[in-house]
Every structure is written in C-alpha cells, then in structure tokens.
C-alpha cells in the first residue's frame, strides 16, 4: 500500500495522459495498467468547439485520483496559479509541481520548484514536486513538507531509463516520504529497476502512449512495477566477484 498525504493506493504506477493515438486506446491502456493516479495538464480551452472530446469524459471520475501538473510554468508564480486553477475544478487535491528551467533538456528549475512547493504547501495542497535527481534538493523539498518527491530518471520523454541509479538510491535511502520516480522511463526494465532500487512508485507517460502497442505496454509496466517492488521487498543477493556453485559439492563423483 502506497500512502501519499492522506491518500492510499494499491497500485504504485502513476500514469500520464498525454500523446495517446486515440481515446479508446488510452482508455484500454489506463484500464489494463490498473493505475489509480492519472496526471493531466491545464491548458486554455478551445471555446469555439464545444464538441471537442476530452479524455475526462471517457473515464469514471470516481475511480481515479487526479494529479494535475503545472507543466508550462516557467516560475513559481505561474506554477502556483496553474495549481490553483486545477484546484478550482473540484476534481483534485494533489498537484505535481513542475517548473521547467531549461527548454532543451526540460530539466526542472530547482529554486522555483522549492518556492512553488513552499507556497502550495502553505495553501494546504498535497504537493508532489518533480525534481532532478539531486539528493540535497530532495531533502530540502521534504523539509518544506512535500508529500512525496518525484525525481526524474532521465530527461522527460527521452526514454533513456535510469541514468544515475546511485543518486536515485541516495534519495530513496534518505527520504522519509514516498519517492516516485518520474520521467525518462523507457521500458518495463527501467520501471522494474526503479522499484528494485526501493522507489515507492513510478510515474510514466510516453513509454506507454508512444509504444507500438500502448495497451500491451501498459500491462507490461504494471507487471514491471509489481515485480520490481516484490524484488525490493524480497531483497536481492549480494554481487560477488567470482562464481559460486549453486549445486552441492557432495556426491560430485557420481559421473565417474
């Protein structure tokens, strides 16, 4: 069971809702993933096209907890405004603080992320900041009262997987709040690895929505997160430099 703020989840997979081929495939992928948390962005509506479909109309709103992001924000002030807009919908009480500081790498602005987190916590939000894999920054966010820490595995949408497992491990070891590895996951292997490192959850989007078969990939990610978590809880064996036979040595002369 994963606990973030006051919410508890059976699934440790958080799923993004961007860039699916169509809403039917997206709905199937979300269903099969068994996720309980969906992320969304907040954008201007096309007010002249009231027939424009929206994914929210396809799903049972009661079944999911919405985690709107503040993507598009360039500073803390904009992030806070987006979070408040999302909150006014009455559909969510959590927010993923996302303040991009570098257009080329889409890496977060650490200073503005801290500021936005502080403000939104003071306003009573459940705040999950997206951060780089910086150990000290993660600690400072936790000290502010962030309800979870969301370090990136590698740049958003890059599918490069976990490029710095050491930093992620440091963050996970030190954190007293859930650590949800967010961004950069490419394959089920990456998701399982994050969970094996001890992450409390994984948030991914493009790895599923951009797969040749998003529905199958959603199932693969569900299983990978579960497998990785089980592996972490079971405790892996220590690595050794040389071979150690797993068959007994006694009775080895049987073939002579």
């Amino acid at each position: 069971m994963l606990k973030v703020g006051k919410a508890t989840f059976n699934s440790r997979l958080f799923l993004g809702t961007g860039k699916y081929p169509n809403y039917d495939i997206q709905k199937q992928a979300v269903d099969v993933s068994e996720t309980e948390v969906l992320t969304f962005s907040v954008r201007r509506m096309n007010i002249f096209d009231s027939d424009q479909p929206n994914f929210l109309e396809k799903i049972d709103l009661q079944k999911y907890r919405f985690l709107p992001n503040t993507a598009g924000a360039k500073n803390a002030e904009e992030a806070v405004r987006i979070a408040k807009l999302a909150d006014a919908s009455g559909l969510c009480d959590m927010v993923k603080v996302e303040v991009i500081g570098c257009d080329k790498t889409l890496l977060p602005d650490p200073v503005e992320t801290l500021k936005a987190t502080e403000t939104l916590l003071a306003e009573g939000f459940t705040v999950l900041p997206y951060t780089s894999d910086d150990v000290v920054l993660a600690r400072k966010l936790e000290e502010l009262g962030a309800h979870a820490i969301m370090p990136g595995a590698s740049p958003i949408g890059s599918g490069q997987g976990i490029i710095n497992p050491l930093n992620l491990q440091f963050i996970i070891e030190q954190a007293n709040v859930p650590v949800i590895v967010d961004a950069g996951i490419g394959s089920p292997k990456d998701a399982a690895y994050a969970m094996e490192l001890g992450a409390d959850g994984v948030l991914l989007n493009t790895a599923v929505s951009g797969a040749n078969d998003p529905v199958k990939m959603a199932e693969a990610m569900k299983l990978a997160v579960e497998a990785g978590r089980l592996g972490f809880e079971a405790g892996r064996i220590a690595k050794k430099e040389y071979a150690v036979a797993s068959s007994p040595k006694e009775g080895i002369s049987i073939g002579e």
Binding site: G18, I47, L85, A88, G90, G157
Partner: protein, 67 residues
C-alpha cells in the same frame, strides 16, 4: 458587449450578465472547465454570482493530456 476570452476579443450577446450565462451561450456547460475572471479563479458555484461587464478578461481552461 465585448470581453477578452483566452486572449481574444469575444462579442457577447445582450442579456448575458454573469459567467454561468456566458458558459451556456458558448455551449460549454457540460464540460469540466475552470474560469478565471479578471485574475480571480472561480469555483463553479461562483459562476452564477459573478457578473461580467465590458472589457473583462476571462481565461477558460480545462484538463488536457499530460505527464
């Protein structure tokens, strides 16, 4: 009456006096949307009691796919 919606001017019919009526005129009443009126974010229950007048600035936003 002209108001600015999502950055563009919009001519609103005579008789429209509040946000709820404007949303109905735009046929958006069934949508999950959020309105910001002159930089004040409104919860849905405030739509009816929030009057609009000439030159007001409105942002109408909603949730879209994102990660």
């Amino acid at each position: 009456m002209e108001v600015i919606v999502n950055g563009d001017p919009l001519e609103v019919s005579e008789g429209i006096t509040n946000i709820e009526e404007l949303i109905q005129e735009l046929r958006l009443e069934k949508k999950s949307l959020i309105v910001e009126h002159n930089q004040t974010i409104l919860k849905k229950e405030k739509h009816k009691e929030t009057a609009i007048s000439e030159g007001d600035r409105l942002e109408i936003v909603h949730f879209v796919g994102g990660g």
